[in-house]
């Protein structure tokens, strides 16, 4: 298997953009190409992650996104989710057929309806949709089970919000930045009990791009490539009722990635993680499932302070998805944050400790139906 390196990356801020989607896309991709010193047509392959019409108002969104991605007349394709696109991009390089692959993920959350309106379309039309199932209500069911089974408190979940929005203050790309307290979270409006409004991710704009390259090429394109050491993803049952919401497919996805990266003890080998937590409690639950703490110990983990930006094991130093939620792109934002931290280029929110290895996680579907994990190393 060929090694794959991230050579350059670029990201837009999560704040609402007044640009047309096409031009918004162009700017970020132009930036990443300029950083790599590449002309558009010197890239071997372009992979676009963009949502279907439900998030963009345009069907076959790759049609519209094609030009801004710089894909005119070069090999290209599109995958639904940015984590999928990134993994597919790695496969293209690993296959030996391509030396450079540009992966870009595109969405403007400011242009469409509420997340709950859009994610209602995940549901099947006969059973769960007429019963009003959507991403938030599914997460609420999951959260209550989590609190009940492991005695996780609402305060512990709220601490995730305080930490992440606080971290975001130092991230120039983040959308929501706030210094708040646990009380503010607990007092915020109930969305789907037990989930409160500050525990829900916002809707953000976000174009993010990376240029992947084979080992030799990567060394030509940048000084310090960030290597993709492992990836894994796994899919759960569609019907919520067929699943154990607290024991889904994340361990399967993670173990694949760990195996590929040769990691036995993730907590020791990995220096930081960017976890996709569209709902605050999920950072705790996913941390358990990634093996960062024991089963049911997600609450203790946040209480310990270790996941704070200055802690021993920082989680979401960027502010995570709670601070910025460009729906389709959110997985790749996690990857780019990890890569920036490894390079020491995260700016004001650069970790104090040295980051050698980092984990990026992405999820979509109800209550984490699909999980992906990517492990990067300097």
């Amino acid at each position: 298997m060929r090694r794959v390196g991230i050579t350059q990356m670029a990201q837009s801020s999560g704040v609402e953009s007044k640009e047309n989607l096409m031009d918004f896309t162009y700017k970020v991709n132009k930036e990443v190409l300029d950083k790599a010193g590449l002309q558009r047509d010197e890239v071997d392959c372009v992979i676009i992650a963009s949502s279907d019409i439900f998030h963009s108002g345009l069907s076959c969104s790759n049609s519209y996104d094609w030009d801004g991605a710089g894909a005119f007349m070069i090999e290209g394709t599109r995958a639904e989710d940015s984590m999928f696109s990134f993994i597919y991009g790695c496969m293209r390089v690993m296959s030996g057929h391509y030396d450079t692959v540009l992966v870009t993920s595109i969405v403007k959350g400011s242009e469409n309806a509420e997340n709950d309106a859009l994610t209602s379309f995940f549901a099947d039309p006969f059973y769960s949709r007429p019963l009003g199932m959507n991403e938030t209500s599914a997460a609420a069911l999951q959260m209550r089970e989590y609190m009940e089974r492991y005695k996780i408190t609402e305060e512990q979940c709220a601490k995730v919000v305080v930490k992440n929005l606080g971290n975001a203050v130092f991230n120039p790309y983040a959308h929501i930045k706030k210094n708040i307290g646990v009380e503010d979270v607990l007092k915020s409006e109930v969305v789907c009990d037990p989930i409160k409004s500050l525990e829900c991710a916002p809707k953000s704009d976000g174009v993010v791009s990376v240029i992947l390259a084979s080992e030799d090429k990567a060394r030509n394109l940048c000084e310090k490539p960030v290597w993709v050491k492992g990836f894994g993803s796994s899919m759960d049952h569609f019907n919520l009722g067929d699943r154990d919401l607290l024991n889904g497919q994340l361990p399967t996805a993670a173990s694949k990635a760990y195996k590929m990266a040769g990691i036995r003890d993730p907590r020791k080998k990995i220096d930081m993680a960017e976890i996709c937590e569209p709902y605050a409690f999920q950072e705790l639950l996913w941390s358990e499932k990634l093996g960062f703490c024991g089963e049911g110990e997600g609450g203790k983990l946040i209480d310990s302070g270790e996941t704070q930006i200055k802690g021993a094991f920082p989680i979401n130093p960027s502010g995570g998805v709670l601070a910025m939620n460009p729906y389709v792109s959110r997985g790749m934002y996690r990857i780019v944050e990890c890569a920036l931290q490894i390079r020491g280029k995260a700016g004001e929110h650069q970790l104090g400790k040295k980051v050698k290895s980092a984990l990026a996680h992405g999820t979509h579907g109800f209550a984490g139906q699909s999980h992906s994990v990517v492990i990067l190393e300097g």
């Binding site: 995958a79 995940f122 549901a123 899919m235 979509h364």
Partner: protein, 388 residues
Amino acid sequence: MGRAVAIIGTGQTKHGRRNDVSYPELVREAVVAALEDAGITFNDIEGVVHGTMPSMMEGVSDTHLYFADAMGAVGKPVLKTETCGSTGQSIAHCGFYWVASGAADIVIVIGSEKMFEGDGQATMTTVADPWFTQQFSAGAPMVFTMQSMEWIYRFKIPEDTAREAAAVISVSNHDNALNNPYAHIHQKVSMEDVKNAMIITYPVRLLDVCPSSDGACAVVYASEEKAKKICKKPAWIKGLSFRGEEFFYGESNKSIWPSATEAAKEAYAQAGIHDPLKDLDVAEVYNPFTYQEMIFYECFGFCPRGKAPDYVLKGTFLMDGQLPCDPSGGTLCTNPIGATGLIRLAEAARQVTGKAGEMQVDGAKLALSHAMGGIDQFNGITIVGSEL
């Protein structure tokens, strides 16, 4: 370069109006058929690739979630790939690179559509932007007619010749479909039927246009090592490519369709094909419109520019011609969009492995499969062969 990859099994549903099954059940039908053909079980599958038309067609977003159980994907990695009409080829390519990368040894690729459940033309109109294109590109026939007219204009093709040749394509595809048990349209048509059919968008008439179908297709890919172990006669992937022009239709010259031309050129280079008309034994060209099929013949180098009608009228692409095209009856007789491009590949694979039954082109060793998508924006090609 990379690992060799083979197709070791294919499966299709009966296409047509399939309101006897729910959408997940339809998907499962193709998956079960493909596994059976490959002689493997769900447990052997290491990865799942899925795609449809854009989800507005389905009315369900991110269908890889909805179909997780039907695809046997639970506990497995899934990739969802979509590029409009060319989805079928894009998912085929995804399966190839997955295995070629070494990340998996056996991957199943699944394309599906239930055109009867949504409004196909309306969905296609939502591909167009609301500022410059949507108002004037209503529905697929309009766009394809524009392209055909431009081709007729630029190459000064007599309209009667083009009409006659298009009718030949319609008649031969309908004839071929009679040999395909999975095909949607099983109907014998005459030249007169085609030429007198209702005008959809002049000069395109009803029998120049594909139907809307429900249907699904699944293809199983394996690494060289596994393929040789499991399968007596695999179909080897020899070349593949995907290209796209600008979003705005008018920016590239669609009468010489650069994306189709370049995609073919690249795939030929990989497969070592120099003279496609001679080297290829059979082609499954994505042909939702008869006129458009002739543009593809030219882009793929089957004949010189502007000469496709002459070659068609000579019988070059008939079952007994030099390069039989669409022995399955093609897209013209079966079009579950998200599956259509993959069906082309499945049929090509069946041809080179001698499994095509009544549709078999004798001794076929090298076959081209193709799909196009967007507002005439994308073209994808996969070439399969009987030899490694």
